[in-house]
């Protein structure tokens, strides 16, 4: 038993030393940007803490012991009475000690919610500064890009700052880096949506960045979903780029065998006639119409992108899913304008909340675009046809009528 006690003490002393070494790096390097566990199962009798440029590493042989020790220390603190805990947090030396254990524990196991809570309390007591904490959470993300706790912590920290003081583009780059490293990184993209909500001015740059990301990470559906949400948001806000002609949209319509009646028409006018025939334009604002054209044009370019990507890489679920979503955007927004569901004026409410369903397909008969879409899309297989029926409201009755028409003309 004595040997055990001695061994445990030795272990404790060693762990304390390693924790000190790790925190020494924190103090020394104000620009520490990444942490990783270095796979090294044997102890070569030198420090397991590695510091190269702004990268911190901890050799794996000691990780379990160090974590165990830090964890026990922190939980012991937490098992005290609330009063005792507050006293510790209040005291400079004691709270500094706590922070040292937290740094190590969270780098090795970022999932422990309670440890992040202790940090929050330390921030509230001004023992930790917001900027350093943002840096720490970025450090955790370098190790675990999917850590929702780290992202949630950042959102909490930012609640103490005013929106215009925050470097939002930097926050986007944190999201992008995390998404780049981990495919379908749910929390990174969800955090990105939060950034966009707070900084709608980034809409244009986000449209550019997401297209690049989609081209590179072809199977990362989270990025495609984000783009779909981005487009909905852009339309909700009535966003449009100045002086841009909807040429992609015109091209898409041509693929559905639809062209302007008058060859001299501007692209804008041609598209409006094809997508919104007999539409009373005065019933909506100029901004709404411009936004409609702009956003549908983006959707059309996405349809083209998906087709191009499929040619380049072969079938991928993402290409098919996003193409459908983009097509649905154009169809749905056209129908909504025509049936008066979207009135003039911008709405800030979520576009997904209790929206009325599309009108029954019998109303489509006077609409060349919808008829064309139904005809062309129906040729793309039974499964896709079923999707169109569910999502674009292309009913089975119309299908029978179409078949009749085709038989008549043949």
């Amino acid at each position: 038993m004595e040997i055990n006690v001695e061994f445990n003490n030795e272990k404790k002393v060693l762990c304390e030393k390693i924790i000190r070494d790790i925190n020494a790096v924190f103090l020394k390097d104000a620009d520490l940007s990444s942490f990783e566990i270095i796979p090294k199962e044997t102890n070569c009798n030198k420090s397991p803490v590695v510091h190269v440029e702004h990268n911190l590493g901890l050799e794996s042989w000691c990780a379990r012991h160090v974590y165990d020790h830090a964890h026990r220390t922190l939980i012991t603190h937490r098992r005290q009475t609330t009063q005792q805990q507050l006293r510790t947090l209040q005291q400079q030396q004691q709270s500094d000690a706590l922070a040292k254990y937290l740094n190590v524990a969270l780098l090795i196991n970022p999932d422990v919610t309670t440890f992040w809570h202790i940090r929050r309390q330390l921030v509230q007591k001004n023992r930790l500064t917001i900027n350093k904490e943002l840096q720490f959470s970025a450090l955790v993300l370098s190790m675990k890009p999917k850590s929702n706790e780290a992202f949630a912590y950042r959102r909490w920290l930012y609640s103490f700052q005013s929106a215009d003081a925050i470097d939002w583009p930097h926050e986007i780059s944190i999201c992008e880096r995390a998404a780049d490293r981990c495919a379908s990184n749910y929390h990174a993209w969800s955090h990105r949506q939060w950034v966009l909500q707070n900084a709608p001015c980034l809409l244009q740059s986000e449209l550019m960045r997401t297209e690049k990301f989609m081209r590179k990470h072809i199977s990362d559906y989270s990025s495609y979903h984000y783009r779909q949400a981005l487009l909905l948001r852009a339309y909700e806000l009535g966003y449009h780029a100045a002086e841009e002609q909807p040429s992609c949209l015109l091209q898409l319509l041509a693929e559905y065998e639809l062209t302007a009646a008058d060859a001299d028409e501007s692209a804008e006018e041609a598209v409006l006639q094809l997508l919104l025939p007999d539409f009373k334009r005065s019933s909506v604002s100029v901004q709404r119409l411009r936004s409609f054209l702009y956003c549908c044009n983006v959707a059309a370019s996405d349809v083209r992108l998906c087709v191009e990507q499929r040619t380049l890489y072969g079938h991928r679920d993402c290409f098919e899913l996003h193409r459908r979503a983009a097509l649905k955007f154009i169809v749905e927004q056209s129908v909504r304008l025509l049936t008066g569901v979207a009135r003039s004026g911008m709405t800030s409410s979520s576009s997904s909340l209790y929206l009325p369903p599309l009108p029954p397909q019998s109303d489509y008969e006077a609409h060349p675009f919808l008829i064309a879409v139904r005809r062309v899309e129906s040729r793309l297989g039974e499964k896709h046809k079923r999707w169109c029926q569910i999502h674009l409201n292309f009913g089975q009755q119309a299908e029978a009528e179409e078949q009749e028409q085709e038989e008549d003309t043949s």
Binding site: Y67, I75, V112, W189, S350, S352, I390
Partner: protein, 345 residues
């Protein structure tokens, strides 16, 4: 306090009657019982420490899986109840995953689920739990996970499920607002649900939202065709189910997708045969337990959902599991709870 002290000494394993050919195609019943019983026994300190932050849920997974297998008496009821009691926070009323950790909505539900299974709700302060959950609801109907302010539809489900199990749903949270918030997390493009408004559709979060609608008798708000379609798209050629497009199959999604489809009366829209084969292929033939996919290491989380999925598919060796609350059906019946379910179509 660790899970091992909850386990009574084994009575010696029952004989394994499986034939030698195709063991992976049959449910390794007694191996799984052994796995869950022994869970925590061989764990060294490191593993114990690393997963301590979810201990309460770990116990709920083990208890539920064993009960579905009719082997609940292999665990020490008294110790488990004592553990749960010690985890109730005296000030907030919520439950921590383990002593020394902070209370949270997730572990509050797990605690209540465990006590319902053991018919021991009287052992805790239920009023305090109600106060805790009600206190976390926000003006927009969403729920914080704890006082620090994270919003997620998982917490909405936890809140409503906890209140339902305590028979206090009517006089506690604002159900109308809770439903409204959940519906705002529905993505029109595919009919699925995410963690927050606008977030990507995800099978696990879809289960939480469909479950909440089931508990609040509001399934009519779902677009069953759209959502059913999206859920069926989760089935891959291997027969397994994934959680979102382009992701690999995972046994836990077999639960979340399957239970959602069952609640929606559309279970027959996926291929049960192939799914069952996939789930069975995720068994660890040496140690027992299920892993996330074929060939990986098993864990207690995937073991529950593997067993749960097989129960939904009607496996004869398993008791019925309730798809909304992920608890044995007989317990839900005993509590007189009737989550809504759509008729088969």
């Amino acid at each position: 306090m660790d899970f091992t002290t909850f386990v009574k000494p084994s009575n010696g394993g029952a004989s394994n009657n499986e034939n030698e050919t195709e063991p992976a195609k049959k449910l390794q019943f007694w191996k799984h019982v052994e796995y869950i019983e022994n869970h925590g026994k061989q764990e060294d300190d490191f593993e114990y420490c690393m997963t301590e932050f979810l201990r309460m849920s770990g116990i709920y997974w083990g208890v539920t899986a064993l009960d579905i297998m009719g082997q609940l008496d292999r665990l020490d009821r008294k110790s488990i109840i004592e553990f749960v009691k010690r985890c109730q926070c005296p000030t907030s009323g919520g439950f921590s995953p383990c002593e020394g950790h902070d209370p949270h909505m997730l572990y509050t539900l797990s605690a209540v689920q465990i006590l319902c299974t053991y018919d021991a709700l009287n052992e805790i302060d239920c009023d305090a739990v109600v106060r805790y959950v009600v206190g976390l609801q926000q003006p927009d109907g969403s729920f914080f996970g704890d006082k620090w302010g994270e919003v997620d539809t998982r917490f909405s489900f936890c809140a409503v499920a906890t209140m339902t199990l305590l028979q206090r749903l009517e006089q506690s949270v604002d159900v109308e607002k809770a439903v409204k918030f959940v519906m705002s997390c529905c993505n029109q493009t595919d009919g699925g649900f995410g963690s927050k408004p606008g977030a990507e559709s995800h099978a696990g979060l879809t289960y939480c939202c469909v479950g909440l609608l089931s508990l609040t008798q509001r399934l009519h708000l779902l677009d069953v065709d759209k959502l059913g379609w999206w859920l069926c798209e989760r089935q891959l050629p291997s027969g397994g189910l994934n959680g979102r497009p382009e992701k690999l199959p995972d046994v836990c999604y077999s639960w979340w997708v399957l239970s959602s489809l069952t609640i929606m009366g559309r279970l027959h829209w996926i291929s049960s045969e192939k799914l069952q084969q996939f789930i069975l292929s995720c068994q660890d033939l040496e140690t027992g337990g299920f892993s996330d996919r074929t060939g990986n290491m098993p864990d207690i989380f995937h073991t529950l959902f593997g067993i749960g999925g097989l129960s939904l598919l009607g496996h004869p060796d398993l008791k019925l599991i309730n798809p909304t609350l992920c608890m044995p059906q007989y317990i839900i019946d005993r509590l007189g709870i009737k989550p809504q379910r759509l008729t088969l179509a």
